[in-house]
């Protein structure tokens, strides 16, 4: 579903990604861990072209991200096509980024109605189901600032799912939450994984990575240090760097 080959990305002089190679198969849940500044979030943002990569190849579902390749030449995609591709990838942010001027329901139906041009009735029906699924059917008409962090994040997940994405990206979805609210969000994500959604999850929740993840990637300094089955990597890390990181967070 996602394929990265030698992906590099710099911000000015700072090289954030220094050659990332990885592959996510359909239905796979890949968790990415690593210290802050290691490039996990940047890589995630490259997948839906919120950041442009400098070199290498990055493709989603067999199609290059942000470019079209014809006769060995790369053509930048025009904006409408970039937008169309983004609409097929759901993204959940650390800070939720719900639209504060819209109720929970309006947040969820906005993109289906405006981007996919769905009728209001269709969008609302699906939104209600999604909000019920994330356990918020009683918060439909509530504005984001009247919700707890955990509830906001679950609305954000429903909002992303409303576009019926083929891939979900999670950028530290529980890092801004009070500890007691983390569980509800992880439960929703676990449910998604069980339904076979392809997911790339940047997280610090090692428990989640171990139980739900199909693969685990440890990144540091813009490269992948170690990758494997979550259970193996967490219990028996092969690299010294992984070992020292895990000893601090576990």
């Amino acid at each position: 579903m996602v394929k990265a080959e030698a992906v590099h990305k710099s911000f000015g002089r700072l090289e954030v990604l220094r050659g990332i190679d990885l592959e996510v198969s359909p239905g796979e849940v890949m968790c990415m861990i690593g210290p802050s500044g290691s490039g996990k979030s940047t890589f995630l943002r490259c997948i839906n072209h919120l950041e442009k990569i400098d070199c290498g190849r990055l493709s989603v579902d067999g199609e290059l991200v942000g470019y079209r390749e014809r006769a060995d030449k790369l053509y930048e995609l025009p904006d409408p096509e970039v937008c169309k591709k983004r609409s097929e990838i759901g993204m959940v942010f650390q800070r939720f980024n719900l639209f504060p001027h819209m109720t929970a329901l309006e947040n969820v139906i906005e993109a289906p109605m405006r981007v996919k041009k769905e009728s209001r009735a269709v969008a609302v029906e699906r939104a209600r189901k999604l909000l019920e699924r994330v356990g918020l059917s009683d918060k439909v008409t509530v504005y984001p600032n009247q919700l707890s962090g955990g509830q906001q994040q679950r609305v954000a997940i429903a909002r992303a799912l409303a576009m019926q994405p083929k891939l979900m990206l999670f950028d530290e979805p529980t890092s801004a939450l009070d500890p007691e609210l983390v569980g509800d969000v992880l439960d929703v994500m676990r449910g998604l994984a069980e339904d076979g959604m392809t997911m790339v999850v940047v997280t610090h929740e090692m428990g989640f990575a171990r139980e739900v993840g199909d693969s685990l990637v440890f990144m540091d300094g813009g490269v992948i240090v170690e990758t494997g089955k979550p259970r193996d990597v967490l219990a028996n890390p092969q690299q010294e760097r992984t070992r020292s990181f895990l000893s601090k967070v576990l």
């Binding site: 904006d79 937008c83 980024n97 504060p100 001027h101 981007v115 576009m163």
Partner: protein, 318 residues
């Protein structure tokens, strides 16, 4: 918890601090106010009956209607064009962005009085204005004097000038919206214009509305510059009457009273607009002054209102 509540001690009853400064200030201010009122009321050459007479004079009332029309039209032009210019200014397209920059540079850099004057006298250099498609017979033109009558000249002058200022205000509002909002909208597949319209601009409103209210109030007064284009608005009318009756100060007072009344009404309107666009930014709306007054009547000795009643225009605290 229940025990703790039951054992709560009695509320504090203490002798309040005496605010001597407030009493001194009140006495001084009252004395000065009384002096001013007395002087004005007894000024031998100031005919208050004339003020009263012209306050509801037909020409003055007609002038008010014109002033309001001028203000509304100029503000509509200013706001619509201002939003367009602000979005253009932030466009990734360099040509579009520069056009906006040059517009703002020109219209903010020349006095609005001169701009009205230029529109009014445009016929001196361009007797005809026309539009047509080059290399075809499709062409349309009209005399500048019929097209840009005095009222039109003033409206264009005020509106185009206002657009430059509104562009700056809207631009500041757009920038004030957290970048995460744009990213979330992009991640959902929204195009730049769609996310501007649906996500960013509505949130920018909170920042845009207060200065726009100020601009409207300011416009109401600035519209008196239409005087130079002989537009029969409030100030022009009052001066026309004054030039016939020589009651210059009296008619200036008449105009002032009306301007003051209109700006006062606008100030109230602005308060409710701000309140409306502040929704969703805090838990529960603040009380309106009327609600607050009512509450004060019923709970005169109650403790000060809870912090949830902060004014809407305060920056968001989370």
């Amino acid at each position: 918890m229940a025990d703790a509540l039951r054992q709560r001690p009695a509320a504090i009853e203490a002798v309040p601090v005496r605010h001597v400064g407030r009493w001194v200030a009140a006495v001084v201010v009252l004395a000065i106010a009384a002096e001013i009122v007395y002087t004005l009321a007894t000024a031998p050459n100031l005919k208050w009956s004339v003020v009263g007479h012209y306050l509801s004079h037909r020409l003055i009332l007609q002038g008010i209607v014109t002033t309001l029309q001028l203000t509304v039209l100029a503000m509509v032009i200013g706001i619509v064009l201002g939003v367009v210019l602000a979005v253009m200014r932030l466009s990734p397209n360099p040509v579009v962005s520069w056009v906006s920059w040059i517009y703002i540079w020109f219209f903010r850099g020349t006095p609005v009085l001169v701009q009205i004057f230029l529109w009014f006298n445009l016929a001196l250099v361009l007797p005809f204005i026309g539009v047509g498609i080059p290399f075809t017979m499709i062409h349309w033109q009209a005399s500048t004097n019929t097209l840009i009558a005095p009222f039109m000249a003033a409206t264009l002058g005020l509106g185009f000038n206002e657009a430059a200022y509104m562009a700056e205000i809207v631009g500041a509002g757009i920038i004030s919206v957290e970048h995460g909002q744009t990213e979330a909208a992009q991640a959902l597949g929204m195009t730049r214009l769609l996310l501007m319209r649906r996500i960013v601009l509505p949130q920018a409103m909170r920042v845009i509305i207060p200065p726009t209210g100020n601009e409207t109030i300011s416009m109401l007064k600035t519209s008196s510059l239409a005087f130079v284009a002989s537009v029969p608005e409030l100030f022009t009318r009052s001066q026309q009457i004054a030039s016939a009756t020589f009651e210059v100060i009296e008619l200036a007072i008449v105009a002032s009273i009306w301007y003051l009344a209109m700006t006062s009404i606008l100030t109230v309107g602005q308060y409710y607009l701000e309140r409306y666009f502040g929704r969703g930014s805090q838990r529960g709306l603040p009380l309106t002054p009327i609600q607050r007054f009512r509450r004060m009547l019923f709970t005169f000795h109650a403790p000060p209102p809870a912090p949830a009643e902060l004014p809407v225009s305060l920056p968001r605290g989370h």
